[in-house]
């Protein structure tokens, strides 16, 4: 069953969970990041991180090293570390050297660097330099021609996939030779010097890219466009599967297993796609049908005509101002909540309605019970 948590009525623009899911950092469309601690079945507000001067656009929490990185529209990013003495989070400014807002941030799998996408048409790869005790950024600029909207890391800690509003997804190498050793070859290529473009795909007619996601092995990358299209590139890009959907555009993607892709966005419900010979729509995780609210068997004739006057329809469900899904507004972000090995078994969605809902993939609605997620 789904767990529903409410954090006010403002949109949750971004959120991040800590390693054991006992703490949550989120931002409600303003310049503050709020940390919540789990208290029984509810949440208690712990600290408010207020260093940004403009909207916080991205939060990520590194599970093992327990560091939070936030980036904002004020062209800055901060790395927050929790002090051992009083448990308060202290910021450290990251010098990004960008002249436009930062849009998204992700820690790398090994948590020694993070990637920031920005409206300055570049990706910043930031790592810690111990000599000067600060975080430095290296830029990947070519050939990105417009705002970078989303970023995802490959499990080898070196490759990143970027989606941009110039309608292209690209895979770059973010290899920083000062802090790591050369990675092994992958399906995307063998030579990976910093900022090397490993793969590029442009969706000329389909709108800007909302989200990119690497599959658990890193051999596949999925992306979602504003033209209600999702696509997966497989086998190093030699095979691209596309599906134009009937749904509204998806804002976030997450691979549950190597072949099951979860997508969520303006349709207010998470939808599952399976990749076998092609991408197949499998259905929604949200099984609620609460359209018929009340049994208005005692509708009088006068009531009926009054409804007709007011609403233009006799249908009672039209009076219901809510949507028939759990989320009442678009889902902004999908985050893995619990993993069984490399497969995700529980997923958290954060929406523009102030709700965070945790879905259990192991008890799927009836329509998907026969589908094997392998």
């Amino acid at each position: 069953m789904e767990e529903i948590h409410r954090f006010g009525y403002e949109p949750i623009t971004c959120h991040a969970w800590n390693g054991d899911r006992s703490q949550l950092a989120l931002s409600l469309n303003n310049n503050e990041t709020i940390i919540y601690n789990k208290q029984g079945r509810g949440w208690e507000r712990s600290q408010t991180l207020g260093e940004h001067s403009d909207r916080v656009t991205g939060i990520d929490w590194a599970p093992r090293t327990n560091r939070i990185v936030t980036c904002g529209a004020d062209r800055n990013a901060y790395v927050w570390t929790q002090s051992t003495s009083d448990g308060r989070w202290r910021p450290a400014l990251v010098l990004l050297r960008i002249n436009r807002a930062a849009t998204t941030v992700r820690w790398s799998p090994a948590e020694n660097k993070f990637a920031i996408g920005s409206g300055a048409r570049c990706v910043c790869i930031c790592y810690y330099e111990p000599d000067n005790d600060w975080w430095v950024a290296k830029h990947i600029k070519k050939p990105i021609k417009s705002t970078v909207t989303s970023i995802d890391w490959h499990p080898n800690n070196t490759l990143i996939a970027t989606g941009s509003s110039d309608f292209c997804i690209r895979i770059f190498s973010a290899f920083v030779k000062d802090i790591e050793s050369k990675p092994d070859p992958t399906v995307w290529g063998a030579k990976m010097p910093f900022a090397q473009l490993m793969y590029e795909e442009c969706e000329r007619g389909s709108g800007w890219i909302h989200a990119v996601a690497f599959s658990p092995s890193g051999d596949r990358v999925a992306w979602s466009c504003h033209g209600s299209l999702i696509a997966v590139a497989d086998r190093g890009g030699s095979h691209v599967y596309r599906i134009t959907t009937q749904c509204l555009p998806f804002l976030s993607l997450l691979w549950a297993t190597e072949s099951a892709l979860l997508a969520a966005g303006h349709d207010c419900k998470p939808i599952l796609y399976q990749l076998s010979q092609s991408l197949i729509y499998k259905g929604s995780l949200d099984d609620t049908v609460n359209g018929d609210v009340s049994d208005e068997s005692t509708t009088s004739a006068m009531k009926m005509f009054r409804q007709l006057d007011r609403r233009g329809s006799v249908n009672v469900s039209v009076l219901n101002a809510s949507v028939s899904t759990h989320h009442q507004n678009s889902i902004n972000q999908l985050a893995p909540f619990h993993r069984d090995g490399s497969n995700v078994s529980r997923v958290a969605t954060a929406g523009s309605d102030g709700l965070i809902i945790i879905w259990n993939l192991n008890c799927l609605p009836n329509m998907m019970r026969n589908m094997e997620i392998h």
């Binding site: 299209l229 134009t244 509204l248 555009p249």
Partner: protein, 154 residues
């Protein structure tokens, strides 16, 4: 003080194109291949009352994303003509014969039809609305989103 020059040509220079920050879209060089549907074939099919065949013919070789406004206008008028010969009861069956990309293409033409109401197209809106309803039943909200976001217009 700067010298005033009598020529005013400098005022006509489009300064924005020289701005480095502007997004330069890649122009495709394959515009010569987009010819649009075969007009004579479609007209023949309409004349012989083969409505569904005419519909299939008119969605072949779509002129999408071309800079050639004349070809696009010709294709648009042809599509409007084909859409208007259908009776409302026949539309659903015709839509069932189309593929997903053809449904998207027709949706684009329907919206272009909505936006262009001239005296030459004699009140075609009711027919377009019926087409819109049937196409929406198949294509869903996604097909409408694609009409709005696709930079390659009909």
């Amino acid at each position: 003080m700067s010298k005033t020059v009598s020529t005013r040509e400098f005022r006509k220079v489009d300064v924005d194109q020289y701005n480095e920050d502007n997004f330069q879209e890649d122009t495709d060089g394959n515009e010569t291949q987009l010819q649009g549907p075969n007009e004579t074939e479609v007209n023949n099919l309409i004349g012989s009352k083969n409505n569904v065949q005419a519909l299939k013919a008119v969605v072949q070789n779509p002129v999408v994303g071309s800079r050639n406004t004349d070809t696009k206008l010709k294709a648009f008028r042809l599509v409007m003509r084909v859409l208007s010969v259908f009776k409302s009861s026949e539309i659903e069956a015709a839509v069932a014969t189309l593929s997903a990309s053809e449904v998207d293409l027709l949706m684009k033409y329907v919206y272009r039809g909505f936006s262009e109401q001239t005296t030459t197209t004699d009140n075609i809106c009711p027919i377009l609305l019926s087409w819109h309803e049937k196409l929406f039943a198949v294509g869903g909200l996604g097909s409408i989103v694609r009409v709005l976001t696709n930079r390659q217009t009909v």
